[in-house]
Subunit: 186 residues, 2 copies
């Protein structure tokens, strides 16, 4: 069975704490944690998205260390996880890459803690994915979340994660893991 | 309702990749991510456990930055999460602290990717916790997992997280989030 879902971590366009659209810096541990979660839950690919070329180079250097450099020998399970990771300059490049791999345009699913209307639940998203048969791209934001330019393009807005109360400030690393766990469990 | 569960992240005694018992170094992002997950899912307290005094001092400095230093002003939601975090020298100190707070000895629940026998499922743990009414301490290991000295003291061995296949190398940050999500959801 081909992978049903793909992950993108966007560093642009996202909001900062004051609601301005910014580009955030790449975080090394995001790449590690989300690669490992992607591999554990069977994602097709994990895209780190930044338009800044020097940041793209940095990501490529990190990926190559674990994909074929000293890290690959030191830690084969990390190598396996990093095999899913790739860097792209924009959401469109990601969608093109998935089209190239699958022959289908992926459904865009945006995630975030602040959404309150037009939400799709986990159960529903799962049945829609099963019914449509198209790949689905789960888009996660850094900073204070995805900018409207991205959320406006969504096919689905995933319902925010909720815990025990009104506080829901999970790290993006934790959020990706929980979303994948909810989507992939029987 | 008083908190039903507490989190401990152990830096000793844990195994390294070759199965030797070691003390691992504290990781800054573990403290951030697990504090945020603990707060989101309603944990009573999050204990960072290391016997090394210089590491304890480092943790206290990080906690104080976000609890009452510049970080508390800069990011109030982080302050709220860090309010749950504390540093202890051993599992016994953690259990004593919980006893002091609740008047009850916590049940020790060990977690890990490698357990295969005597497991307790998430559903079962939840009903047991409800039935017994005692607080429960979820113990997570760093490095390559909790040493036998700790797992041998467990009241419950939590079933390992599984994803889409046999690969299950989540980061401890991701694992804590997923375990809490599974335990706390309706």
């Amino acid at each position: 069975m081909p992978p049903r879902f793909y992950i993108a971590l966007l560093h642009y366009p996202v909001y900062d704490r004051r609601g301005r659209v910014v580009t955030t810096a790449v975080t090394n541990l995001d790449i590690h944690d989300i690669s490992r979660s992607s591999r554990t839950y069977g994602a097709g690919r994990f895209y780190i998205v930044t338009p800044i070329e020097r940041q793209q180079e940095l990501v490529r250097r990190i990926l190559s260390h674990w994909q074929e450099g000293p890290g690959a020998l030191y830690n084969p399970s990390r190598r396996e996880a990093f095999g899913l990771a790739d860097v792209k300059g924009s959401l469109d490049e990601v969608l093109d890459d998935i089209s190239g791999r699958t022959g289908q345009r992926a459904r865009v699913v945006v995630t975030g803690a602040g959404f309150s209307s037009g939400l799709t639940g986990f159960e529903e998203l799962r049945s829609r994915m099963d019914a449509e048969g198209a790949p689905c791209l789960l888009v996660f934001g850094t900073g204070s979340g995805l900018a409207e330019e991205v959320t406006g393009r969504a096919d689905f807005v995933l319902e925010p994660l909720r815990g025990a109360g009104s506080y829901n400030h999970l790290s993006v690393r934790s959020a990706v893991a929980v979303v994948l766990d909810r989507l992939c469990r029987e």
